[in-house]
Amino acid sequence: MCGGSCPLAFAMEYTPRHSIYLLKEGLLDQVLKSNTLWLCVSCYNCTSRCPSGLKITDVLFPALRDAAMSAGHTLPAEFKKALDNTYRYGNSFGEAPRKRMDWARGAGVPVPIISQLKRPVEALWLVECYPAYHPRNQLQAQAMARVLHSMGVDFAVLGPEERCVGDCERLSGEAGLFESLVEKNIALFDKYEYDEIVTADPHAFNSLTRIYPDATGRQFPVRHYVEFLAARMDALRPLLGNRIEARVTYHDNCCLGRMSGLYESPRELLRAIPGISLVEMPFTRENALCCGGGGGGMWLDTVIWQAAHERLSDRRVAHALSTGADILAVSCPFEASRFEDALKSTGNEGKIVVKDIVELLDESAGTRGGMPA
């Protein structure tokens, strides 16, 4: 089942199923020398379909990568750099922690930092690394700030203290790095008072809901913004005054979809925007095709391209284009830049616009007006 479900199996020297059989025969070295372990993008397709309940995504691939690292194999350069950076700076970009708040300058609304507020807040917003540092994703963070602000949510961010939650590092097989990030993040979470944690990053959500509890024996009150906002529809709906006359198709990402079953909240938010008509693309919900960015995929594009001669995001934008929609809506920072790049590299630039749901809410609420930091 895993071999047939994996969107990159065709490019792997051994499919996930084949790898499992090789490992059973004690042929670890053979698997470690293959390209297989670098082609998994943690889409959880195999995991969600495995009839035996094997944790192929969460356990097998990270263990293989860990074994390769421990055996001193040369790692793909971008991948190594991202891990080195996360260890040293707390973000895979290798940016200064002091620059973590630079994005907020373009938000046009105050973005309070919890250490400066010195009081409990309703929502602690984990901005995460891509929205904080990546120029495209900063727009998503700015839209989120404006939406929260105009809804009157009492929120604050961690600011320069914030560090990567570590989901991609964990799936990359860097167990020690993940462990050190967990320790540091738990200490930060315990330092402040808040009712709940909200994040726009499905990967952080994935780790905080499923993995941090296993690692620490504690639960964390965390929600992705699609759930957080959908639960506040009464406060949100009156703000959505501007019509957006467009056909919109929504891409279910792996962590919110297959891993958490959050299929309705994002669609509910989109339907609340006046003017929008929602159309579904081929392969939705639990069958959605991954954008290819998870589990270290953001840093393995070169390796994957060399093996597969395509990125999953290239294939996914074709699904979106086939609906004739005007807008491809997403709810993950990775996707906005990946799909925009895919539209360019497949010669489809301008044929569909990629927007985060929160950007569409921002536009409808007329709070828009930010700019890249």
């Binding site: 860990d66 690292m69 421990s70 001193g72 040369t74 790692l75 350069a77 190594k80 891990l83 080195d84 260890y87 040293r88 700076y89 290798g94 940016e95 200064a96 002091r98 860097e174 167990a175 020690g176 790095l177 462990e179 050190s180």
Partner: protein
């Protein structure tokens, strides 16, 4: 073979560099330090030699910034010993003074081979390795891209020259080698190993011996690059622009 690797910590350019009120040094308030890139290669080169021929690798660093992290990482990567030289003045040393101190330490331990990066962002002209060799009176080859030890008492190094030329040189040991790059990129060390090294290994500390620091360059003023005069933008078709460039070069006497 006993190999000593000298690791230097250099300012991390991820933070904006600021000039201290003295006007002759960097402001260290926000400064972080990281292992100089070519020293990282020197360490990799040492580990490759050890793996191939056996021996012992000792990593040595002046106590500056995150030197301890670099030393634990070196242990996690396979170094046998790590030594931190303490008692470094706040403002650091010039390269020649640092070389004198490190030279005094290495004279005692007398390793067979001393490897260090051939240059660093605060040592672009590559003083360190050469000065060290001079102080110790040892042979020196710099800008190497591989060091091998096929026979006893000598190493075979590949050195790069301008114009894409390379030479293979046999060097008698003991010697100092200024490494440009190791034959393979520095290996990744899983964070779990660094954390384990922090728990199970120790870094020996050694007070830097006091040696007379040789006269070096004196910094009179440190300043950020001042923007030059405004650039002149050329317009027109590629041919017209090419003609304009030729005229400009001729007028300045740069072509005839």
């Amino acid at each position: 073979m006993n190999i000593a690797v000298l690791l230097s910590m250099v300012p991390d350019l991820v933070e904006e560099l600021e000039i201290a009120p003295s006007g002759v040094a960097l402001d260290t308030q926000w400064l972080r330090y990281l292992l100089s890139e070519s020293d990282d290669h020197a360490l990799e080169q040492a580990l490759l030699l050890k793996e191939r021929y056996g021996g012992k690798v000792t990593a040595l660093a002046l106590d500056r910034g995150e030197a301890e992290e670099a030393l634990y990482t070196a242990l996690a990567r396979g170094a046998d010993e790590a030594v931190k030289l303490t008692g470094i003045p706040e403002e650091g040393w010039g390269k020649r003074a640092a070389a004198a101190v490190v030279g005094a330490v290495l004279k005692e331990s007398a390793p067979d081979l001393i490897l260090t990066g051939v240059q660093a962002i605060d040592d672009m002209d590559g003083h360190m390795a050469g000065a060290l060799a001079g102080i110790l009176g040892l042979p020196f080859v710099g800008v190497t891209r591989s060091v091998d030890a096929p026979g006893a008492g000598k190493v075979l190094v590949q050195k790069e020259y301008p114009g894409g030329m390379a030479a293979e040189i046999e060097v008698d040991l003991p010697a100092v080698i200024g490494v440009l790059s190791a034959p393979q990129p520095p290996r990744y060390v899983p964070v779990a190993r660094i954390r384990e090294a922090r728990k199970t290994r120790t870094i020996s500390e050694r007070e830097a011996p006091s040696v007379a620091a040789p006269e070096g360059l004196v910094i009179r003023r440190l300043f950020k690059p001042e923007p030059a005069e405004r650039a002149e933008m050329l317009d027109g078709t590629p041919e017209e622009m090419a003609r304009q460039i030729v005229t400009i070069l001729e007028n300045r006497g740069l072509v005839r």
